[in-house]
């Protein structure tokens, strides 16, 4: 090939690259659907993002490698270490509208309506995006997808989803041959008080099933308080809970006769991972506890 021909190729390549860049930049405006079913229009690629909701949003931004666009997060004990130095905008359940406004964000992720925060931000002309409550792994995926679209990182989001899905399938497959174990997932933050159990509709229920368990409280909805008597009579072989709450279950004299307590099969699960992009790791923990020695 002649020199000029090479030049032509180069020009073509650069032009193609430019077209690609422009195409990527021209994705905007993007329209996504929020938890109310409203269309949220995002005019430009957000570069000043504030997370005013649960840490899941922060994790997604980090996993999509957009940490440099995150300017502040809401305080939460489950915040990932990457954001330890970022400014705080109140707590994740009650973000401070005034502080958020002073940050001049172009996208606020996750505020609820508890104290009317979302309404005020919207009134002030801020673009706000809150995704539906997480009650299953598909909700985590759709949150990743929605946030990815909003950030202009659709492909990264699909890759992240694919990666998590693959991990989940691998874990799930490994327990397929096993006999299902009777399990309950309890939150017992107060000693000697009837705990809250994951019923159907809770993400913990889905995780139990995928880890090769059988949820003994599949017949109740949401996260009801269940009587100790009922736990005794349904006699779970394994009890999952938060690590800090194991003591509250094992020391409860009324639960002494339950198989899980008798056999020392009350396990702590890192609950911060459950509603998170690390959900597969929580599932892995559960699978290993249900079928040890594999």
């Amino acid at each position: 090939m002649t020199k000029t021909a090479w030049k032509g190729v180069w020009v073509l390549l650069v032009a193609l690259a430019l077209v690609g860049l422009v195409a990527a930049a021209q994705q905007y405006p993007v329209t996504v659907i929020d938890d109310r079913g409203f269309e949220i229009r995002i005019e430009q690629q957000p570069i000043r993002i504030v997370v005013a909701g649960i840490p899941l949003y922060t994790e997604i931004v980090i996993d999509l490698e957009a940490l440099d666009r995150l300017i502040a997060v809401a305080g939460s004990p489950d915040n990932p270490p990457e954001v330890v130095d970022l400014p705080r905008v109140g707590q994740s359940f009650s973000p401070n509208v005034e502080i958020i406004l002073s940050m001049e964000p172009d996208l606020v992720l996750g505020p609820g309506d508890w104290g009317g925060e979302r309404g005020k931000l919207e009134l002030a002309g801020i673009t706000v995006l809150t995704t539906p409550l997480i009650s299953g792994i598909p909700d985590i995926f759709s949150t990743i997808r929605t946030v990815g679209m909003a950030l202009g990182l659709k492909e990264g989001a699909e890759m992240l989803i694919g990666q998590i899905a693959e991990e989940i399938i691998t874990i799930e497959a490994s327990s397929l041959a096993e006999e299902p174990v009777r399990v309950t997932f309890l939150y017992a933050s107060v000693p000697d008080t009837p705990p809250y159990a994951a019923g159907s509709g809770a993400i913990e229920n889905e995780l139990i099933l995928r880890a090769g368990g059988e949820n003994i409280f599949f017949d109740v909805q949401g996260f009801p308080q269940v009587s100790l008597e009922e736990i005794v009579s349904r006699d779970p072989e394994v009890i999952f809970t938060a690590p800090s709450q194991i003591e509250n279950i094992t020391s409860n004299t009324l639960l002494k006769t339950v198989s899980a307590v008798k056999n020392g099969r009350v396990y702590g699960i890192n609950v911060a991972w459950i509603t998170s992009t690390k959900v597969a790791e929580a599932l892995k923990q559960m699978g290993e506890f249900l079928h040890p020695g594999e």
């Binding site: 905008v89 401070n96 509208v97 005034e98 002073s102 001049e104 104290g115 002309g125 509709g201 996260f223």
Partner: protein, 337 residues
Amino acid sequence: MNRNRTYSRRLVFAVLLVLTVPTLLAGVAVGPVHIPISDTLSYLIGRGVSVDNFSSVSRLIISQIRLPRVLLGLLVGCALAISGGTMQGLFRNPLASPYVLGIASGASTGASLVILLNLRGALFLPLGAFIGGLLAAGIVYRLAQERSKKTSVYTLILAGVAVGALFSAVTSFTIFLYSGSEKITDVIFWTMGGLGRANWAYLHILTPIVALGSIILIAFSRDLNALSMGEEGAFHLGINPETSKRIMLGVATLLTSSAVAFAGTIGFVGLIIPHIMRLIIGPDHRFLLPTTAIFLVWADMAARTVASPAEMPVGIITAFLGAPFFLYLLKKKGARM
């Protein structure tokens, strides 16, 4: 002596009236985000004066967040304290509060139904709370109507307690039905009460109601003085106790329901503030009622700043600030009460 007392009352009245201005100003100037007081002033006094170096964000924070909030605090504080003072006078009972007729429980039921049934729309929440409050009070009035068409205050109080309990049970049951829903937190936050939802639309509705209601109650404060001596005495003073009572109860109910509709059930203000003013300036309702308004603005200022950037429910502050002050006054002047 008589002359002297009147003078001091007038003085207290004037001082409080004058204090309202710096209170409002301070309420707008103080917040988790620092905005220079000179900017705040120039914004409030003359729109357009030196706004060039005054960032649009500060303007947004002042005009859309702090100002509505402070004004809502003034209106709600005024409504609750004036209706609280009126109820205490009418019922001749120091424990009476604006919520004595079950309005708070009724409003909570209304609000939680709106939240849990997911009725969206800017004014559904206040409307639901308002209807709930009025419904509860209406039931209580019906129950307290005697055959002679007279209204018994004792029946009112007792029916208020019972109807309040009934509505609380309805609220708890709804919460139970929806357990596990994210909306439960919304309901709990609402019942704690607060001024965080303040916006101009709320103020446009609430201002005329509170202004008119307060004027009517203050206009009736002479009747209230007479009634607080007893209905027979009032009758001999040429007052129709039944008519006055009904008007005052009706207006106080409307005021309270409106305040609760926009700010949730903020406790303590309607119960203690009238008592504090009673201890300071004496039991004359003509002076008592107008002096009760600004306390809630102070409390809300504290609520916004004490735990910044987190916001405390204002009910915690009203009790924290108000209770010790009330106890101090009670100890000092208690005999007069």
